[in-house]
Every structure is written in structure tokens, then in C-alpha cells.
Amino acid sequence: MSRRWNNDLTPGDVTAETLFLNRRQLMTGAGALGIAGGLAAPARAEELEPNSFEDITNYCNYYEFGTGKDDPAKYADALTTEPWTVQIDGLVEKPGDYALTDLVGQMDLEERIYRFRCVEAWSMVVPWQGFELADLLDMVGVEPEARYVAFETALRPEEMPGVRYPVLEWPYVEGLRLDEARHPLTILATGLYGKPLPNQNGAPIRLVVPWKYGFKSIKSVVRITLTDTQPPTAWNKANPREYGFFSNVNPTVDHPRWSQATERRLGGGLFSRRQDTLMFNGYEEVAALYDGMDLAKDF
């Protein structure tokens, strides 16, 4: 258990006044860095007004339930999330099938209000609840040869109408380098707005990596595998020219079919303006993970 950040707030506080949110955002940023004192500028924090619960739960990409943005909200009810087992295997000391309730019970749940930037150039701000992936990795014990973490989404054709179509190769898979997975910003989320994660948002447990495009934050995770080789990832397999393994938010590297320089923050209505996309989605503290890498090549 990390004890890197202590949550003295109840879920009801998520909708509290802006000032309160700002203060908490500062704490979150400081906690995530593991140092005392706030580094995040208050000006930045002021932008982090979470989108409404309705916004977040009605505009989703979860292709297992259909490719329309409202398909997941319409069809994800069919997903059985209890009981839920996460298989943890590969280069770990304690592999096994972990019942989600046991697993979450051993973790420190905390609130993280993160920017969420979709590769399609829209964004939201989401108040997640979850725990640091690093804590889970410490619990199961990572073998020294492990270099990557692979993730897999549930594949339930009888509950997921979208998997009838070969839009992607099912099951959906994702991966992180071990140092990315261990970064304090990387969490496994089990709730949002103080409620259990809605099915359309990846219930009962999903990855959230806020400095990467949204599709890296894999939903409804059933398997976590530690490996020594770079694991395949769903969108990279579908179109390697458009979706790289890293997929860090980067305003200077365009998607081949659209610019990534700007984004639209959802919730602003018909006449909202685009805003500049920030490097690493504003989470500059992860830059050191990529020292010496050409991010235009390793996009």
C-alpha cells in the first residue's frame, strides 16, 4: 500500500466548489509526484472542472458494444461484472486468478481528477477513483526480467454485440512499458464520481494512463501479464501507421488523418472553440520516461 496520498474527502466532494477542486488537484499532483508541496500551477488546475457524469457516461468509445459513441451507454448493461476475476500471470512471483473484490480490498482507493484526451481530438476531465497500478504490481511481485505489462479486455460475444464485427481483433489488448506502468500517475480505476464504474466506462476495472491517448486506457480488464517482450496492442495491430505502441499525447505528431495540435473539450456546446493540446496531455512529469527517444518515430 502506497500511503503516498491520503484521501480525507468523501466522494460527495467531487461536485464541490471550484476552489476546493483546485486545492485537491494540487494535492493530487503533489501526491502523484511523491513529493511535498505543489508543483502544478493553480492556473492549470482551474481548468480541471470535471465534465458532468452524463457527459462522461454517454460519449464513449467501447467498440465491443458498437462503434457509435452512444452504443456503449445503450448496450453495456448486458455486461456481467460480478463476479469478476483478473488473471495475473507471466513474470510474476504470485501468479493466479484474483477475485476483484479481494484484490480491490487490499488497495488504497483514491480520487484522481485527470484530463482524458482521445486520439480523435476530443477531451474531457474525469474524476476517477482507483489505485496505483504500481501497488498491484508490488503485491503480486514482479520478476526482475519483466519489461512490459500486457492487458486484456473481457471477450463475451453473448454480452458484447460489437464483437460480431471484425473492426478490431478481439479481445482488445493493450500494453505499457514497465516504467510507464509503475509511474504514480498510472492507475486502475474502479469508479468515477464516487460511484462504481459504469459498464460503458469499462466496469468493473480499467486502466487510466492520463498522458496517453484514451485507447491505451484499456477497459474491463480480465488479464494482466508481465512479459519481457513488447506486447501487441489492439489499435497498433489494426493500423500500425496510425497508432503506435506508446501513443503519448503529442501535439507535434499528427495522426495521419487529422491534426493533434488542438482538441475540443466536450461539454462546451455547439459554439465551443478548440483549445491547444498539451505535450503529454499536460503531465510533463512523465517526460523523463522518454529521455533520448525520438517521439516522432516512437509515436
Binding site: Y63, T67, V119, W258, T262, R264
Partner: protein, 204 residues
């Protein structure tokens, strides 16, 4: 030779004035704008409006392509409404483009960069430009003046419909089912026009 005889509809269709078709087909656009302003188009109303206007354009382009096969194979005469279908398709294409320019991208330098650099936008813009000579000659005076060349010129609609469907296929992430259905509809309607196919029908 008709595969299905629906010619009984023709006397009723003759009584429908063309202006009514223009009027009815124009209505969805202001309705969509109203929904967009009042929150009826969801969390991302700009993309939703853009998409809906684009889909209306595709529907009308496809409807325009059905006029000839319907007459040939079902005996229904909708020729009187074809100009309305074509011009209203352009109305939706123009509004779709305006939504993209004024509400979606908004940044002038990025608009030009997108047209040049993004193939799906290049394809969409090409479709729009191909429509301009068709719109300019969609009147009785132009038909008389151009004579047989008018028919040749208006075969550009085939290209416009193909570009429109291709634009839709290309803009989606991954190969999705819905845009492919539109592409199949356009391709199917164009295949019905192949000369070989027509001869077979005639001799059957």
C-alpha cells in the same frame, strides 16, 4: 423490362409538386441546428451536426442514383424529382462543409493544411468541387443550351457519390460497417448502370 411493376404509383407521383419536395427536404437542417443549440445532439453537438448533415447529403445522392434503376426495373417515374434530390444533396453538402469550417476547425491555417494533408478531407472537398458545375447547370436553360453534353456532364454525380461514400469510409477509425454499407449502396447502384448489365436485362 421491369423486375417489379410499380407503375401504378405514377399517377399519384405526378400530382406531387416538385416545390413540396424541396420544402420537405430542406426542413431537417434547421431542425438539426435547433437540436444542436438546445442540447439535443448530445455531448459533442458539432461533430453530431456535421455527421447528420453529411449523412443527409449521402442519402440524397443515393436517392438520386435510384431514379434511373427504379424507372427501368420497377416502372416508377421519379424523373420530375431528380433535380430536387440533386440540389438538396448539394444543400446538405454545403451546410456540412460550413459546419466543418465555421464550427469544427475554425482555424484558417489549419483548414487549408487539412484539405491538403488529410486524404479523407481531400476526397470530401473533391466531391464538393465536382458538384459545383452540376449545381450551376441544374436548370432548364442549361439543359437546353448544353444538349447531349448535359447528360455527359451530369454523369459526374457518379463520381460525387463515390467520393462521398469513400470520404465516410476513410474518416472512421478502423474499417467500420456503417460507412461500408453506404459504399456498397453506391457501388450497387452504379453497377446497375453498366452497359453489359443493361443489355442482359433488355434481352432477358
Amino acid at each position: 423490362m421491369a423486375l417489379l411493376d410499380l407503375s401504378a404509383l405514377n399517377p399519384h407521383l405526378r400530382r406531387v409538386p416538385a416545390w413540396l419536395v424541396y420544402g420537405v427536404l430542406a426542413l431537417p437542417a434547421p431542425w438539426l441546428l435547433y437540436l444542436g443549440v438546445t442540447g439535443g445532439l448530445g455531448v459533442e453537438p458539432i461533430k453530431a451536426l456535421e455527421h447528420e448533415l453529411g449523412i443527409w447529403a449521402l442519402w440524397l445522392l443515393i436517392a438520386g442514383l435510384t431514379v434511373t434503376p427504379l424507372r427501368r426495373h420497377a416502372g416508377v417515374n421519379l424523373l420530375k424529382f431528380r433535380r430536387a434530390l440533386g440540389l438538396m444533396a448539394f444543400y446538405y453538402v454545403a451546410l456540412h462543409l460550413a459546419t466543418w469550417l465555421l464550427l469544427d476547425v475554425q482555424i484558417l491555417s489549419q483548414i487549408w493544411a487539412d484539405i491538403v494533408k488529410r486524404p479523407y478531407i481531400t476526397v470530401g472537398m473533391a466531391g464538393f468541387l465536382l458538384m459545383l458545375p452540376l449545381v450551376a447547370t441544374s436548370n432548364s436553360r442549361a439543359i437546353r443550351a448544353l444538349g447531349p453534353r448535359w447528360r455527359a456532364l451530369h454523369r459526374l454525380t457518379y463520381g460525387v457519390a463515390l467520393l462521398g461514400a469513400l470520404h465516410f469510409v476513410m474518416l472512421r477509425k478502423g474499417l467500420q460497417v456503417e460507412p461500408l454499407l453506404y459504399m456498397c449502396a453506391v457501388a450497387g447502384l452504379l453497377l446497375l448502370r453498366l452497359p453489359g448489365r443493361r443489355r442482359v436485362q433488355r434481352f432477358a
